[in-house]
């Protein structure tokens, strides 16, 4: 004959269940915290491609070449709210290339042709210099080489383009291979609120 649970038994189940819930929640919190602390991040005050004052120097492309992934986890990101929508964007054009008959530089800057532009607003089709342009970075092509970031940096540009780690791609290696070679120690681990973490 099955023994009826006593009030003591019921209370014991409740206490044990609550304890398990608390322990589970704490474990989830600790895992999330550990993940956040382990996220690799680019310090904009250190990265030579981003930091102000570093002008007239060579672009550093180690983020593109030294990630363990075939296409680096680092991408260039254009902050639209800060973009000047220039006709001759020094991140889009190789401004040192020969000027064509249309008055525009003949070559683009991005070696992977990852930046596209589109005239916006009331477009003047006759004169390309007479329009605003929206610049979009194709993340399937961009490898984070930093050329456009350096091109857009103040005072040549407005500094609207920066490099960011794409956390949906980054493998979060214990020893990031880019961080090991970065000459500016700009790849660091930082507590970051990751989406979904």
């Amino acid at each position: 004959m099955k023994k009826q649970p006593t009030r003591r038994d019921v209370l014991g189940h409740v206490v044990r269940g609550t304890g398990l819930l608390v322990l589970g929640g704490a474990a989830v919190h600790l895992v999330r915290r550990a993940n956040a602390e382990g996220a690799w991040w680019i310090d904009p005050t250190k990265c030579v491609n981003i930091r102000l004052g570093a002008t007239g120097v060579e672009v550093c492309d180690l983020c593109a070449t030294d990630c363990v992934l075939p296409l680096s986890a680092i991408r260039a990101v254009n902050e639209f709210s800060e973009c000047g929508r220039c006709c001759i964007c020094p991140a889009y054009y190789d401004v040192r290339s020969e000027v064509g008959p249309d008055g525009l530089p003949s070559r683009k800057l991005c070696p992977r042709d990852a930046i596209t532009r589109e005239a916006i607003g009331e477009v003047d089709p006759e004169d390309p210099l007479n329009n605003f342009y929206e610049y979009t970075i194709d993340e399937d092509k961009c490898n984070g080489c930093g050329a456009c970031v350096m091109g857009c940096k103040e005072p040549a540009g407005l500094g609207s383009i920066r490099l960011e780690v794409r956390y949906d791609v980054c493998l979060d290696c214990n020893r990031c291979t880019i961080a090991q070679v970065c000459p500016d120690d700009a790849i660091v681990q930082k507590a970051i609120d990751l989406p979904g973490a």
């Binding site: 007239g56 000047g84 006709c87 020094p90 040192r96 009331e122 007479n130 329009n131 540009g157 407005l158």
Partner: protein, 278 residues
């Protein structure tokens, strides 16, 4: 034609003649005194570069201009403050809808012209402060293309406005009514007569004999063009701090050129070799 630097006025520091954080605009009064505005102050220097007077402004100033009657107009965010020669505040034009960021002021007869870099146009007012019309706004981009955030212009004796449209790499000419008369300038990184980068020239002023003086950023340069807009000469290299941008420029009665180094917070004076009159 070669230009050489002959003097440096002011600089970064805490002295009365220096600026602590910003030096944005310069201009001359009819007596040849130099007015420089930055931080929250107007400073007045004599022909030798000695500080003669200083007073505070209500807002951080972007530009300064002095009318023939000696009235000092200071451009700020949201307003234009007026002072007499002693620095007494005599009034202000406040027009929240039309004065976003006032970066240049000019005069022609009874008209006052005010550049609003926020709305990317030049506004014409009568001497009482009544708005008459906008200049440079009647186009497909609804204003000048100035990603550098600074709109500068100068008015010649006939009332033609010469304005920098920096992202178009042009200096455009307008009537007071806003009609575009023409422009000069092309983009180019190689030939010095062209305008490089994303947006140049950033600042300009007219000089004697129809000359035009402009400044550029990245890298910073000062260039002088003759009446036909042929390049007469330029100064670049180490003359200015490499991070300078939006360097205001003015010319005195002897055609000496004054350029603001916006990083070192100083005014550099240039003269053409062989005398100040080229």
């Amino acid at each position: 034609m070669d230009y050489r630097q002959t003097r440096v006025i002011s600089g970064k520091g805490t002295g009365a003649h220096q600026f602590r954080e910003s030096l944005n605009g310069i201009g001359f009064d009819p007596a040849g005194r130099l007015y420089a505005v930055g931080d929250r102050e107007v400073k007045v220097f004599d022909g030798e570069g000695t500080l003669k007077k200083r007073w505070e402004t209500q807002q951080p100033p972007y530009c300064v201009a002095v009318r023939d009657d000696g009235s000092v107009f200071v451009g700020e965010a949201g307003q234009v403050e007026m002072f007499d020669q002693s620095g007494n505040r005599v009034g202000a034009w406040e027009d929240a809808d039309r004065f976003g960021t006032v970066t240049s002021i000019g005069f022609h007869e009874d008209h006052v012209l005010i550049a609003d870099a926020a709305d990317r146009c030049i506004r014409r007012y009568d001497k009482t402060g009544k708005w008459i019309n906008d200049i440079g706004k009647d186009n497909n981009t609804k204003g000048f293309l100035i990603p550098n955030g600074y709109l500068d212009f100068s008015v010649d004796e006939t009332g033609v406005i010469h304005a920098s449209n920096s992202a178009k790499h042009r200096v455009e000419r307008y009537t007071l009514d806003g009609e575009l008369l023409g422009f000069f300038g092309h983009f180019g990184m190689v030939r010095p007569e062209n305008f490089p980068g994303c947006c140049n020239p950033t600042n300009l002023t007219l000089a004697g004999e129809g000359k035009l003086v402009v400044t550029e950023k990245a890298g910073p340069r000062m260039k002088v063009y003759d009446r036909d807009r042929k390049l007469l000469g330029f100064v670049g290299g180490d003359a200015f701090h490499a991070e300078c941008k939006n360097m205001d420029v003015a010319v005195d009665g002897q055609d000496r050129i004054y350029v603001v180094d916006t990083v070192r917070l100083s005014v550099l004076v240039f003269e053409s070799e062989g005398g100040s009159k080229p």
